[in-house]
């Protein structure tokens, strides 16, 4: 009798996720699927609302990356108010937004590494689940835990200073921003008491990259061979090929590094990217139209960005990118656990960019908003912590939103996450009769590498326990447990 193993929801990622592993009668993996419950109602919810509300409304989507939605919506509305497609804002407008965005990247990447990834690295997939978490890290590696806490706090304070507040920030508005950065605020970040200042953040980010490289050198087989499969990679890059997490043109490379898309204006994204619906998943599967639904899937996020970018325009991160690229001899890197490495390089880059911006006197100027000739439609893209985020709006004559389409980072990674789960399932579940905590955690580890955010915006106490269910091919529950 075949068995179906269900891990529901996936631990340490947001929202509802369910992994189903179907075993055949011989106990081998016949099929695996990652089911994600994605809110699709939001696009309808914003229809009829005044367009200028969108940058605040979209923050309802997610309590984890509201800044990314805030800025992507604002970028789309820049087009609608005639402020251009990323190059039309005032220097103060663009740089304040960049500071907000890189603060968001910094705090999110720090949280992921120190809170979600480091337990897997420090304690291993088979480690005691009671300590394989940030509390365990704090007990045994206090210095790392403190750094994680303070880096996250620094990024949160950057967001507060640029967005105006931590909840439902209003900093970005169509055509610009509504505040600059005061000298007092700036100096707090540049010269704040140790450790909450930008120089310490750069030091710690560099130390985090070094930590990973050291770990990698001692655990090469584990890091290099855990879920490796060829993929195309997509991101925005600056027009000259530099990594740019806030604005650029679309680039997609295939598994060998050949450019499938390059220098594409993202206002035309829909000419190049389609969205497939499958009957077993709530979440859509984006694909490159030129390759079709079967072969057109791609990966987004830190690993994709380090693969697509020709270089990083800050010195410390560039040095690390050179090491990263040399490891695969300049070819695209397909090792899932190297996403952690790429994420830390971006952590360092984000800290360097924040320092550059904080020293830029444009942040204290008062020319905040650009106005132009109104358009009916606009697209905003940026590189959110988890990958490329698409916001697309069309308005009517009453200035109401009549169409909205969002492709969130986790949706872009739907197919590669499924492939990663399948890879690991075949590695650890084939021929097994007992399902250990370590086996289950390995499936979760590959999902966690993508840092998916499954649209969890509510979190009220008492919701969403962890359930592990095993059923046979007839659907009969063989066992179930809750965390």
């Amino acid at each position: 009798m075949g068995r179906k193993i269900t891990i529901e929801p996936v631990t340490r990622v947001e929202g509802h996720g369910k992994v189903t592993i179907q075993l055949d009668d011989a106990g081998n993996v016949a099929q695996s699927r990652l089911h994600i419950v994605e809110f699709r109602g939001f696009e309808r919810f914003v229809q009829g609302r005044p367009y200028w509300e969108a940058p605040v409304l979209v923050q309802r989507l997610c309590g984890i990356c509201p800044v990314s939605h805030h800025l992507a919506a604002a970028k789309a509305l820049d087009v609608i108010v005639g402020a251009g497609t990323g190059d039309g804002l005032t220097p103060t407008g663009e740089k304040m937004r960049r500071l907000m965005h890189y603060g968001q990247m910094f705090q999110s990447h720090a949280l992921h590494f120190f809170h979600l990834a480091s337990p897997d690295l420090l304690f291993g997939a088979d480690g005691d689940p009671a300590i394989r978490n940030v509390i365990g890290v704090a007990l045994e590696h206090k210095d790392l835990a403190v750094q994680g806490v303070m880096m996250r706090k620094f990024g949160q304070e950057i967001i507060r200073a640029t967005a105006g507040k931590k909840i439902h920030g209003t900093g970005a508005i169509p055509g610009g921003i509504n505040k600059n950065l005061s000298i007092e605020e700036r100096d707090e970040f540049l010269k704040g008491a140790d450790p909450l200042n930008i120089d310490k953040m750069i030091d710690w980010a560099q130390a985090a990259v070094d930590f990973f490289k050291d770990y990698h050198s001692k655990n090469t087989d584990y890091i290099d061979n855990f879920s490796v499969f060829p993929s195309s990679h997509l991101s925005i890059v600056r027009k000259d090929g530099a990594m740019d997490l806030y604005h650029g043109v679309l680039r997609c490379i295939d598994a060998d590094g050949n450019k499938l898309l390059d220098d594409i204006d993202y206002q035309d994204y829909y000419k190049h990217i389609g969205e497939e619906v499958r009957n077993w998943s709530y979440m859509k599967f984006p694909y490159l139209r030129k390759l079709g639904m079967e072969k057109g899937w791609y990966t987004v996020g830190p690993l994709a960005r380090c693969n697509t970018a020709d270089f990083i325009p800050t010195p410390l991160a560039q040095k690390e990118l050179e090491i990263f690229k040399a490891y695969t001899k300049g070819k695209p890197n397909h090792m899932s656990m190297h996403m952690h490495w790429a994420r830390l390089i971006e952590l360092l880059h984000s800290a360097e960019v924040m320092k550059e911006l904080l020293n830029d006197p444009d942040l204290q100027k008062d020319d905040l908003v650009t106005k132009g000739t109104k358009q009916k439609e606009g697209v905003g893209l940026l590189e959110a912590p988890r990958g490329t985020l698409f916001h697309h709006y069309r308005i009517n004559d009453l200035d109401q939103i009549e169409m909205a389409n969002l492709i969130v980072s986790t949706t872009n990674n739907n197919e590669p996450m499924n492939r990663g789960v399948n890879y690991v399932a075949n590695e650890v579940f084939n021929g097994q009769k007992e399902i250990s905590e370590g086996m289950m955690n390995k499936v979760e580890m590959v999902i966690r590498a993508y840092d998916p955010c499954l649209s969890c915006a509510t979190h009220a106490l008492g919701q969403m326990p962890l359930e592990v269910t095993m059923v046979d091919s007839d659907g009969t529950v063989l066992s179930q447990r809750r965390k």
Partner: protein, 151 residues
């Protein structure tokens, strides 16, 4: 008395109806300008809150709850290393545990859980949640005064 003798932290998403009960409590409390009280609110609790609470004697976490008794519950909590599966956020118990592990400080911690009912994409509370909010707020003010007098 320290400026942050009591730290009140509301968390939740005001864009999801009753999920915003925690931040709303904090917003209202801030208007009272009570000496000795520090406040903060965010969408979710996270690791930096271990640092935020480390300087206070008493911490009160305020959150909406889908299962609390009506109109609210107020309970002392103990530190717990148990991590909820959604650890892009943390439980109040695990924030306190992290605070102890990192800073060696253990503030007395409580959770004010206000019963909520509606969680859709909308601002404003359901009628029943609004009533619960008012009762919870009156209770919180009395409790804070009582705590300040005992510090």
């Amino acid at each position: 008395m320290k400026e942050n003798s009591i730290y009140v932290c509301g968390f939740g998403n005001p864009g999801r109806q009753d999920d915003g009960l925690g931040p709303a409590i904090v917003n209202r409390l801030e208007d009272e300008n009570i000496k000795g009280i520090a406040t903060d609110s965010n969408y979710q609790l996270n690791i930096e809150d271990a640092d935020n609470i480390s300087g206070s004697d008493i911490v009160i976490f305020v959150d909406a709850s889908i299962e609390a008794e009506e109109p609210f519950s107020f309970k002392k909590i103990e530190p717990s290393a148990e991590i909820t599966f959604t650890t892009h956020s943390m439980s109040p118990e695990s924030v306190v545990a992290l605070c102890i592990d990192i800073y060696g400080k253990s503030p007395e911690a409580y959770v004010l859980a206000i019963r909520g009912y509606e969680w859709e994409f909308s601002e404003g509370f359901s009628l029943k949640a609004m009533n619960n909010f008012n009762e919870a707020y009156r209770f919180l003010l009395e409790k804070i005064n009582e705590m300040l007098n005992s510090i």
